[in-house]
């Protein structure tokens, strides 16, 4: 290890990104209720929804707050899985 702790940090980041990227949408995320499709539909209905309790039920939060931590996490996971799929192949090969 040339870079010492800093290189370790890079490795940790790469492994964490790998771990996020391999989460399966249908088999895992939808089963625990973290599927991005439901989150996006809830976000689309946010503000104009005639039934605000739908949003409440989905995330257990107040309507005035904007997307909560869980919605943000789901968004982050789906974004990582979408965006990093191709670059991760290259980075995994190189490192």
């Amino acid at each position: 290890m040339i870079f010492g702790y800093f290189g370790n940090l890079l490795y940790i980041g790469l492994l964490l990104t790998n771990a996020i990227a391999i989460l399966n949408e249908e088999r895992f995320l939808a089963r625990i209720g973290w599927s991005s499709s439901t989150a996006s539909s809830s976000n689309a209905g946010f503000g104009q929804s005639p039934n605000p309790h739908m949003y409440n039920d989905a995330f257990g939060q107040n309507v005035n707050e904007g997307p909560g931590v869980k919605a943000k996490l789901i968004n982050l996971i789906s974004a990582t899985r979408t965006l990093m799929r191709i670059p991760l192949i290259v980075v995994n090969v190189v490192m």
């Binding site: 870079f3 010492g4 800093f6 290189g7 940090l9 904007g66 943000k72």
Partner: protein
């Protein structure tokens, strides 16, 4: 000058098509032209010669003449300004075109060497055909504008990922700022006002950022964190040398350790800001790195006290004191990032109670996590 047949057969297809202004097709020549006596290189005679000899011979026009013809045709087609030796006879023109583009000769009648010699002639002849002053000016201007556009593009994308302006601003410090800031980091308990001063635009008084650290004590800089990081690296090497276990790797290892801590903390703050939906009205990434780097001041103090050798109790008390000071400093300094005041922020964000409490929890967690970093870094 015998042309090898493979070259002519492999020669690329002719690039120049006959211009539409030109007469569409040459009038057919009389079939019984004596081949040896004709000096004009007509394609028909050429084809005849090919068919007679069985392979292509480049004999009929001498090389210089063919070049002249070709150049004539080129200059007359492209350039109306500089015509060095233009005869302006249509037959010559047509022959020039037909030399290149005639479909009658199936093997293409060796446009390759003629084109090369033509290019060479153009390149070394001094005057480019079709290059007078106006065209040259236009070309130069176009090139300049293209280069400028490219530079703008590079600068825009460069400053997006490496904000040089912010880095420059955060290094503009004065002596009094550095002294006061060091005192503030090590003894933050009596400091009253923690809010940063807003830099107002001189035109309309709109907020356009924060004041530089030269003018504002509460502004984060990068000078103190950088110097403290270098000092920490050297001090840890010195401390390990005092314990007679110095190795050159210690320098790189401690530097990489501290950089890893700074990076990790920066990533943690960024992730927390993303998860808590903090809109970007607060500090930039450079300033967040600066806030993370102030802990090295306390770590340096702890290391120095450790090197003086007062014993474990003094060391522990100094460590706890610097940790508390740093956590308090970070708590008060990062407050405006996570919990923007309504008076400061231009966008009035109304935070609900649960959101606010969650942000306060995150802030407290970030302040308390200093004990991990400082404890890890101060063991040298």
């Amino acid at each position: 000058m015998a042309q090898p047949p493979y070259m002519s057969s492999r020669s690329p297809p002719p690039l120049q098509h006959p211009k539409p202004t030109h007469p569409a097709y040459p009038p057919p020549e009389p079939p019984h032209t004596p081949t040896g006596s004709s000096t004009t290189s007509s394609p028909y005679s050429q084809a005849q010669r090919i068919s007679q000899d069985g392979y292509i011979r480049y004999s009929s026009p001498p090389v210089g003449e063919s070049i002249n013809q070709n150049e004539n045709s080129n200059t007359s087609s492209f350039n109306a300004y500089s015509a060095p030796q233009q005869n302006s006879n249509n037959v010559n023109n047509r022959n020039g075109y037909n030399n290149i583009g005639t479909p009658v000769v199936g093997v293409g009648h060796a446009p390759g060497p003629q084109g090369y010699s033509n290019m060479n002639n153009n390149a070394f002849g001094g005057t480019w055909p079709g290059m007078n002053d106006a065209t040259a000016q236009m070309g130069v201007q176009f090139g300049k504008s293209a280069v400028a556009a490219g530079q703008d593009y590079v600068e825009k994308n460069f400053t997006r990922y490496l904000p040089l302006h912010l880095i420059k601003v955060s290094f503009s410090v004065t002596n009094s700022y550095v002294l006061n800031k060091l005192r503030l980091v090590l003894f933050p308990w009596r400091h009253k006002t923690w809010s940063r001063q807003i830099k107002r635009s001189t035109v309309d008084g709109a907020m356009e950022g924060w004041q530089a650290p030269r003018d504002d004590l509460n502004a984060p800089d990068l000078y103190i964190p950088t110097m403290a990081l270098v000092t920490y690296t050297l001090l840890s090497a010195l401390a390990s040398g005092l314990q007679s276990r110095f190795h050159p790797e210690v320098l790189g290892l401690s530097l990489s350790k501290s950089l890893a801590v700074v990076t990790l903390e920066f990533c943690a703050i960024k992730l927390g800001c993303y998860l808590l939906d903090v809109k970007g009205t607060g500090a930039s990434g450079v300033e967040l790195i600066g806030y993370g780097g102030y802990k090295f001041v306390g770590i340096i103090a702890v290391i120095i006290i450790n090197m003086l050798g007062f014993g474990r109790i003094i060391w522990w008390s100094s460590f706890i004191y610097t940790f508390g000071a740093n956590a308090f400093f970070l708590l008060r300094s990062l407050k405006y990032v996570l919990l923007p005041d309504a008076s400061v922020s231009t966008v009035t964000t109304t935070l609900s109670h649960s959101q606010r409490s969650r942000r306060v929890q995150f802030l407290f967690f970030m302040a308390m996590s200093q004990v991990i970093w400082m404890g890890w870094l101060s063991r040298v």
